[in-house]
C-alpha cells in the first residue's frame, strides 16, 4: 500500500532508514539538529540519533564540506546538508577541486562517498542570492554525480541510492516543494542513479525537465491534452549520469522536443540535452529542439516580476504549439 508523504518526509525517511542500516552515516549541516532543520527536513532526527550523528555546524560551508570529504576518505559516509545550495558556492572549491578529483588523483586508492544535499532552485521572493538553480554548474564536473528528483517517490529512492553510492553526490531538492505531498511505496526501495522516468506517456511531443519542472510540465501536458495534444513528459531524474537513451527514444518517437529548465539558459543542462538530441535524432526531428528556461537575469524580488522570468505551464503550452506549428 503506497503512503502519502511530504517531500521533506520522503527525504527524512531516506536518511533515517539509511542511518539505521549503517552507523557510518552521519548528517551534518547548519541547524539540522536542535532547530530540526531550517526547512524541517531533519525534524526529530537529533532526538533519534543523538548529537554524535546529527551535527549542527557553525556557518562554515567550505569547512564542513571538507569535513564530509575527509571523513568519507577514511571510511565514513557523511551526508552534508547545505541550508540551501546557494550557499554551496563558498564551498565550490571543496566539491570541484577536491571531492570530484580524489578518486582520480589518488590513482583509485581513495574514494569519497559523501552526499551533499539540500534545497535548491528558485524560491519565493528571495531575490538574487537566494533563488538560483545551480545544477548546471555541478553537472559540468566529472567525478560528481548530480541528482534532481521531481517527486516524493524519486526523492526517497534516489537519496537512498545516493547515500549508498561510493562517489560524491550533489543531491538537489526543490526548496518550494518540501510541503508537496506524493505517494511513496511502503517498505524498502531504491531507485537507481542514471535511470530516467517517463512521467506521462504521449506521442505528439516530448517535454523534458527535472525537479520542480516535472509538475509544471505535467500541468502543461494537461492543458495540452485538453487541446488534443498528447505530450510525453520525461524526467531524467539524474543529470549526471544522464539517461540519454531514454530521452533519445522518446524524441525518436515524437519527433519534437521542448526542454524545460528552471536555471539560466547559457550552458544549461538543456543545452547539453539539446546537443545530444539533435545529434542522435537528426533525421527524426520535425522541428529544432526548443528549450524554455528562466530568463537570463538574476532573480528579482517582487512576486510578479519574479514569476514572469520563470517557466510556467502557459509558456510551455505556447512553445509546444510553436514547435507543432500550431501558432
Amino acid at each position: 500500500m503506497p503512503r502519502t508523504v511530504q517531500l521533506r518526509e520522503a527525504i527524512r525517511e531516506a536518511m533515517t532508514e539509511e542511518m539505521e542500516r549503517d552507523e557510518n552515516i552521519f548528517l551534518m549541516g547548519e541547524e539540522v539538529g536542535y532547530y530540526n532543520g531550517a526547512y524541517k527536513v531533519s525534524q526529530g532526527m537529533l532526538q533519534r540519533f543523538g548529537e554524535k550523528r546529527i551535527i549542527d555546524s557553525p556557518i562554515t560551508e567550505a569547512g564542513f564540506a571538507g569535513i564530509g570529504i575527509g571523513a568519507a576518505m577514511v571510511g565514513l559516509r557523511p551526508i552534508i546538508e547545505f541550508m540551501t545550495w546557494n550557499f554551496s558556492l563558498v564551498a565550490a572549491d571543496q566539491l570541484i577541486n577536491h571531492a570530484a578529483k580524489i578518486r582520480q588523483m589518488s590513482g583509485g586508492q581513495y574514494k569519497c562517498p559523501v552526499t551533499f544535499r539540500g534545497p535548491g532552485g528558485p524560491a519565493n521572493q528571495l531575490a538574487a542570492q537566494h533563488s538560483q538553480a545551480l545544477e548546471a554548474l555541478w553537472t559540468h564536473i566529472p567525478g560528481l554525480k548530480v541528482i534532481t528528483p521531481g517527486t516524493c517517490k524519486d526523492a526517497k529512492g534516489l537519496l537512498k541510492s545516493a547515500i549508498r553510492d561510493d562517489n560524491p553526490i550533489v543531491f538537489i531538492e526543490s526548496e518550494v516543494m518540501y510541503g508537496d505531498s506524493g505517494e511513496i511505496p511502503d517498505g524498502e526501495y531504491t531507485i537507481p542513479i542514471g535511470v530516467g522516468d517517463i512521467k506521462r506517456p504521449g506521442k505528439d511531443i516530448t517535454l523534458i525537465g527535472w525537479s520542480k519542472m516535472v509538475k509544471v510540465m505535467l500541468k502543461a501536458a494537461e492543458q495540452l491534452a485538453a487541446e488534443g495534444i498528447d505530450a510525453e513528459v520525461v524526467d531524467p531524474r539524474t543529470l549526471r549520469p544522464l539517461d540519454e537513451e531514454l530521452l533519445v527514444q522518446s524524441v525518436k518517437k515524437t519527433g519534437r522536443c521542448v526542454i524545460v529548465e528552471e536555471g539560466w539558459p547559457m550552458n544549461g543542462v538543456g543545452a547539453e540535452i539539446a546537443y545530444r538530441l539533435q545529434r542522435r535524432c537528426f533525421d527524426d526531428l520535425d522541428h529544432p529542439v526548443e528549450r524554455l528556461t528562466s530568463m537570463d537575469v538574476s532573480a528579482p524580488y517582487h512576486r510578479q516580476v519574479e514569476a514572469s522570468i520563470r517557466p510556467d505551464p502557459d509558456k510551455i503550452v505556447a512553445l509546444v504549439k510553436k514547435v507543432l506549428y500550431l501558432d
Partner: protein, 328 residues
C-alpha cells in the same frame, strides 16, 4: 569645564539624543509595520527584523559622516534608516515596488542607497566582509578619509571570507570598522555551539588589530566607542574589530518561532531595551512626556505615509529587467 559650557554641551547632547531616540523609535515602528505587512502578505520572502538592536545602528551612524560608508548583512533595515534612507524607500522596497531603494529588485535583504553611501544589504553570511575591505581599500587608495563600517553577525565569525577580509584589512591597514553584532544566536544556534572562544573580539589578536567589546543597549555608549574606532580608521588608517553584545527581541526571521530561547531570557533582555535607556537620559534631562507622545505621533505618520507610498508605488515592468543585469 565651566557650568555654562557644561550646560551648552548638555543641551547639544540632548538634541542629539532626541534625534537618536527618534531614529530608534522609527526603526522599531517601521519593523512592526513590516511584520504586519508581512502577515498581510504584502511583503514576501525572508524578513529579518532589527527590533532590539536599534541602538547599534543609530549609534554607529551617529559616529559617521554622510560620506562614510555602511555595508551589512540581510538584517539591514535599521542600518539603512540610520544611514539616511527614507521610510518610503524602505517600505516600498519591502513591498517590492519601483519606489523602493532598489526598485523592488532586492527586497528586504538587499537595501542599497548610493546617495547615503549605504552599500547593501547582502545575503551570504560573511561574504560581504571582503567587499567592505575593498571599500576601505578605495578610501585609502584615494586618500579621501572616508571610513567604512561593516556589520556582521556572530554567525559570520567562523566563515572563511571573514578571516580573509580581516587578514587583508590588518595587513594593509585599511580604514574599516568591523562590527560584530553579537546577538548570541545565529538562527537557532547559541554562541556556545558555534564558537570555541566566546569572546569574538579576541579574533583581533590573530591579526594584531585594535579591538573593543561592549554592550549595545545604550546608544551613547555605542556612538562614543565606535567613534574611537572611526577616528582610528580615518586618521591612522587602521581597522578595528568591535564586538557589540546585543539581542534581537524577535525570531531570526518571520518564520522562526524562536523555540531555542526561553521566555525569561527574552524578557530579561527586554529590560535593557535601548528605547528605555535613551528615554531615561532624556527624562533626566527634563524632556517632558508630551514630547515623547508627539514624537510617537510623528513617527506613526511617517510610517503610515511610507506604507501608503509603498502600496501605491508601481511594480517595475518585467520587460525592464534585462537592463539591470548589465550596464550598457
Amino acid at each position: 569645564m565651566s557650568r555654562i559650557e557644561r550646560e551648552v554641551l548638555e543641551a547639544q547632547e540632548k538634541t542629539k539624543v532626541l534625534e537618536y531616540y527618534r531614529q530608534m523609535l522609527a526603526i522599531r515602528r517601521l519593523e512592526e509595520a513590516s511584520a504586519k505587512a508581512y502577515s498581510q502578505q504584502k511583503i514576501g520572502g525572508f524578513l529579518h527584523l532589527y527590533i532590539g538592536q536599534e541602538a547599534v545602528a543609530v549609534g554607529a551612524a551617529a559616529a559617521l559622516k554622510q560620506e562614510d560608508y555602511i555595508i551589512t548583512s540581510y538584517r539591514d533595515h535599521g542600518q539603512a534608516y540610520a544611514k539616511g534612507m527614507s521610510a518610503r524607500a524602505i517600505m516600498a522596497e519591502l513591498f517590492g515596488k519601483e519606489g523602493g531603494c532598489s526598485k523592488g529588485l532586492g527586497g528586504s535583504m538587499h537595501f542599497f542607497d548610493a546617495p547615503n553611501n549605504f552599500l547593501g544589504g547582502w545575503g551570504i553570511v560573511g561574504a560581504h566582509l571582503p567587499i567592505a575591505a575593498g571599500v576601505g581599500y578605495a578610501s585609502k587608495y584615494r586618500g579621501d578619509g572616508r571610513v567604512c563600517i561593516c556589520f556582521f553577525g556572530d554567525g559570520a565569525v567562523s566563515q572563511g571570507a571573514t578571516h580573509e577580509a580581516m587578514s587583508l584589512a590588518a595587513l594593509w591597514k585599511l580604514p574599516v570598522v568591523f562590527i560584530c553584532e553579537n546577538n548570541l544566536y545565529s538562527m537557532g544556534t547559541p554562541l556556545s555551539r558555534s564558537l570555541s572562544v566566546l569572546d569574538v573580539s579576541q579574533k583581533a589578536l590573530a591579526y594584531g588589530m585594535a579591538r573593543d567589546r561592549f554592550d549595545g543597549f545604550d546608544v551613547l555608549r555605542v556612538r562614543d566607542r565606535i567613534a574611537e574606532a572611526v577616528k582610528r580608521a580615518r586618521f591612522q588608517s587602521e581597522p578595528t574589530l568591535i564586538e557589540i553584545l546585543c539581542y534581537r527581541f524577535r525570531g531570526h526571521s518571520m518564520s522562526d518561532p524562536g523555540l531555542y530561547r526561553t521566555k525569561e531570557e527574552v524578557e530579561e533582555f527586554k529590560k535593557r531595551d535601548c528605547l528605555t535607556i535613551a528615554r531615561g537620559y532624556l527624562e533626566k534631562w527634563g524632556v517632558p512626556t508630551g514630547e515623547f507622545d508627539k514624537m510617537e505621533e510623528s513617527v506613526k505618520a511617517e510610517i503610515e505615509d511610507a506604507v501608503k507610498f509603498a502600496d501605491e508605488s508601481p511594480v517595475l515592468p518585467a520587460d525592464q529587467l534585462e537592463q539591470f543585469n548589465y550596464v550598457e
